[in-house]
């Protein structure tokens, strides 16, 4: 029962957060200055044509509730003839709307960009976790040695480094070695799927390395500190006294306990990673969700922005939910509490 209660409680929190985020997402984009139809309306169009275009995109309706129409007709249904209610209804049907600019379903646009972004985040996260965990443990084991000082220095530097700056530095350093932009070499036909994947991997090196290095800093610092705490525990001393080798102590006794804060930070850092993809995908012209968001912000393409933000929010909330569950699994005291 404890476990079910715990899961339900966490799920309820996630749901409340999601509803709040949907509302905020909807409203935030509408208070940003700028008309989404700026680029689509020819100033020489007749006012009625311009109005028809606005109607077509539902921009003539009130944002929250249509009080005016309700007062005029007395019909309750008219009160809910607003942009927000229509958005919620569409969302309930799984319809994210249609892009103002590209005139394609938002879900279709998201699906077309999701693959490259997932590939980038997954590769970057794995790289950051492996590198951070490895160096964090080594630094903790060799605490106050040159290895520790160097690892900590590098970790802190990368942690403080803006992704766009790091990306540009890598771009310049790796000029001619790895492709500077894009997801795949365009305009050529590949002999087989293996060659195609190899080409994608070459394009992935710089953006994924940037993301891994951005994430590495925090992972390394967290793992180092938590490992240091674990290594100070009595049971580690006992293990040493029993004659276990260093690697065995680390692997069998220290790593699992030291990984608890890492699970939390991975979930928390997913938000940072998702923010980072806007910069990293822009620098490396990586055609993913970050680029889609960047383009949509400039074009005030509300449906695309709402759709992408919703997906990212669900991703972050989901990751935190999973982190809570994993944490409870790794440390049973959590769900008891």
């Amino acid at each position: 029962m404890h476990r079910l209660d715990f899961i339900l409680r966490k799920a309820a929190f996630a749901l409340i957060t999601l509803i709040a985020v949907i509302t905020i997402n909807f409203y935030l984009f509408r208070i940003v200055p700028g008309d989404p139809l700026t680029m689509m309306i020819n100033p020489r169009m007749r006012p009625e044509t311009q109005e028809r275009i606005r109607e077509q995109f539902g921009l003539t309706k009130p944002i929250w509730l249509n009080v005016t129409a309700y007062k005029e007709t007395g019909e309750l249904s008219e009160l809910f003839d607003s942009q927000f209610i229509h958005y919620l209804k569409s969302l309930g049907r799984g319809d994210l709307g249609e892009s103002f600019r590209q005139k394609r379903p938002v879900s279709e646009l998201i699906v077309s960009r999701l693959g490259p972004t997932l590939l980038l985040i997954f590769t970057g996260e794995i790289g950051g976790i492996l590198l951070g965990t490895f160096l964090g443990i080594i630094a903790a084991w060799k605490v106050r040695s040159k290895v520790d000082v160097a690892s900590l220095g590098i970790g802190l530097t990368l942690f403080a480094m803006p992704p766009f700056w790091l990306g540009i530095v890598l771009l310049i350093l790796a000029r001619g070695v790895f492709p500077a932009g894009g997801y795949i070499t365009l305009g050529i036909e590949f002999d087989n799927i293996f060659v195609r994947w190899l080409d994608i991997a070459r394009h992935l090196v710089l953006p994924a390395t940037t993301m891994a290095l951005v994430l590495f800093g925090s992972y390394m610092i967290v793992v180092r500190n938590s490992t240091l705490e674990v290594l100070a525990e009595d049971y580690i001393l006992t293990a040493k006294a029993k004659g276990y080798k260093a690697m065995e102590i680390l692997r069998l006794h220290a790593l699992k306990n030291a990984s608890l804060p890492l699970v939390t930070i991975i979930a928390l850092d997913l938000g940072i990673a998702l923010g980072g993809i806007i910069q990293i995908e822009t620098i490396f012209s990586w055609p993913g969700l970050g680029r889609l968001m960047f383009e949509a912000i400039g074009q005030r393409d509300y449906p695309v922005l709402q759709g992408v933000f919703l997906l990212l929010t669900v991703g972050v909330i989901g990751a935190n939910f999973l982190a809570d569950l994993t944490y409870a699994y790794l440390d049973p005291r959590v769900k008891e509490a």
Partner: protein, 427 residues
């Protein structure tokens, strides 16, 4: 810098079709009520050749939502693939009437970052750029092996815009032409070019535009306002703006300090440098400037919809064909909202009438008189001050292709279909 041939031809056609369109292979003929010099150039961005069996079926409601994909158009290439935000692939047409282009396939890849674009060209990932490279790219590319960089003047214009909207929210002194004149004298245009554009630009004698492509279309009597802080201060003194409280800032007669807001587009790093330099110079004539960067869409909304600004810097690759002057500076475009390009909201009926006189005249020589007069008024009224014409920079891999270098009149330079038709592919 490549010399460009003068553009001295303006076609005479007719406006508002009256008769049936006569369409024959390679010829389109139509007749309008009034003669007009600038058709079809004037409305070229809104006029397209379109097949009636597709577009003729659409009415005003369905026209807007019709997805023209794959696009139907004319030219030596067809769109084979379009991935929004990533690339467009064009395939050469075998049956193009001027012959199949020598380049079979053109992939137009979008680079969101200029450093990546330059790196891609240097490493040979791409062969050609569009003619919009920023000035800072010049040094890197001009010294590189196998890269040819072509510089033409100018490709876009940097302008200081004043809020001329009668209903705009602004400092009242902006409405005073003497203040705008003093500001003009207080700006060292050559210095802006040397610093912000790293020398890759030219000064403009008219506020309408400048450049070797347009010399015959610009009033030859107009000159660049010289940089003269002493003269600028004198104008401000004579206009009655005095620093009464000795804080270094002049005040209006009712005691309002001359503190102006200056906004620029955050996407344009050159404009940041220009804004800072202008701010320093205006301080020298007792005007305090608060510089603010705005993201492009917000900039447009602030300037043209909210009309809440004092001064703004804009960079536009606009067409300075005199025939399109009303789109930028006329009473109708002053109130057209964001879609038109009258950023200052400038309206002067005398100027409008001169422009229309130019339009409807069929006297090829005589029609320049009203146009030159219109340019003179634009210089005197100063709704904008042209800060600099920015040279167009375009680069290509000369180990793979050779492009004709006479692309001055085409917006995409060597990427233009005419240039691509005459390109040479190296073995």
């Amino acid at each position: 810098m490549t010399a460009c041939p003068l553009k001295s031809e303006v076609s005479i056609a007719f406006f508002t079709p009256l008769s049936e369109l006569v369409s024959e292979p390679k010829t389109l003929q139509y007749t309008t009520a009034d003669p007009i010099v600038n058709s079809p150039d004037y409305d070229f961005i809104w006029w397209f050749m379109a097949p009636p069996h597709i577009w003729g079926e659409l009415d005003n409601d369905t026209l807007f939502s019709y997805e023209n994909y794959p696009p139907v158009g004319t030219g030596p290439y067809i769109v084979a693939e379009h991935v929004p935000g990533s690339h467009v692939t064009f395939e050469a047409r075998d049956d193009y009437y001027r012959g199949k282009p020598p380049i079979d396939r053109v992939v137009y890849q979008i680079y969101a970052n200029n450093d990546a674009l330059v790196s891609a060209l240097l490493s040979g990932e791409i062969d050609l750029t569009l003619p919009f490279l920023p000035p800072e790219s010049y040094e890197k590319l001009s010294s590189a092996a196998n890269v040819t960089i072509e510089e033409k003047a100018p490709g876009s214009w940097h302008e200081l815009i004043f809020n001329m909207y009668p209903t705009g929210t602004k400092h009242p002194a902006i409405d005073d032409p003497k203040v705008r004149e003093a500001i003009d004298y207080a700006i060292d245009k050559q210095k802006l070019i040397d610093v912000a554009l790293q020398g890759h630009g030219i000064t403009c004698a008219t506020n309408w535009g400048c450049g070797p492509n347009y010399e015959e279309e610009m009033n030859p009597a107009l000159v660049v306002t010289p940089f003269d802080l002493e003269r600028a201060n004198q104008i401000m003194d004579e206009a009655g703006y005095v620093d009464t409280d000795n804080d270094g800032i002049r005040e209006t007669s009712d005691g309002t300090a001359l503190e102006f807001r200056l906004t620029y587009q955050a996407e344009n790093p050159s404009d940041l440098i220009m804004a800072d330099l202008i701010s320093d110079w205006l301080k020298e004539i007792g005007i305090k400037v608060e510089v603010e960067a705005l993201e492009l869409t917000t900039w447009y909304a602030t300037i043209m919809d909210e009309r809440n600004f004092d001064m703004a810097i804009d960079t536009e690759p606009h067409d300075i064909d005199p025939a399109s002057m009303d789109f930028w500076y006329s009473c109708w475009s002053a109130d057209a909202g964001t879609g038109a390009m009258n950023f200052p909201g400038y309206c002067n009926e005398e100027l409008d009438n001169l422009v229309y006189e130019f339009w409807y005249s069929d006297d090829l020589e005589g029609r320049w008189e009203p146009m030159f007069k219109a340019q003179e008024i634009l210089n005197q009224d100063r709704p904008i001050i042209t800060l600099a014409g920015q040279n167009s920079l375009q680069a290509f891999r000369n180990d793979r292709f050779e492009f004709p270098m006479d692309t001055c009149d085409v917006g995409l330079g060597m990427m233009d279909p005419i240039s691509l038709l005459n390109a040479t592919v190296k073995p």
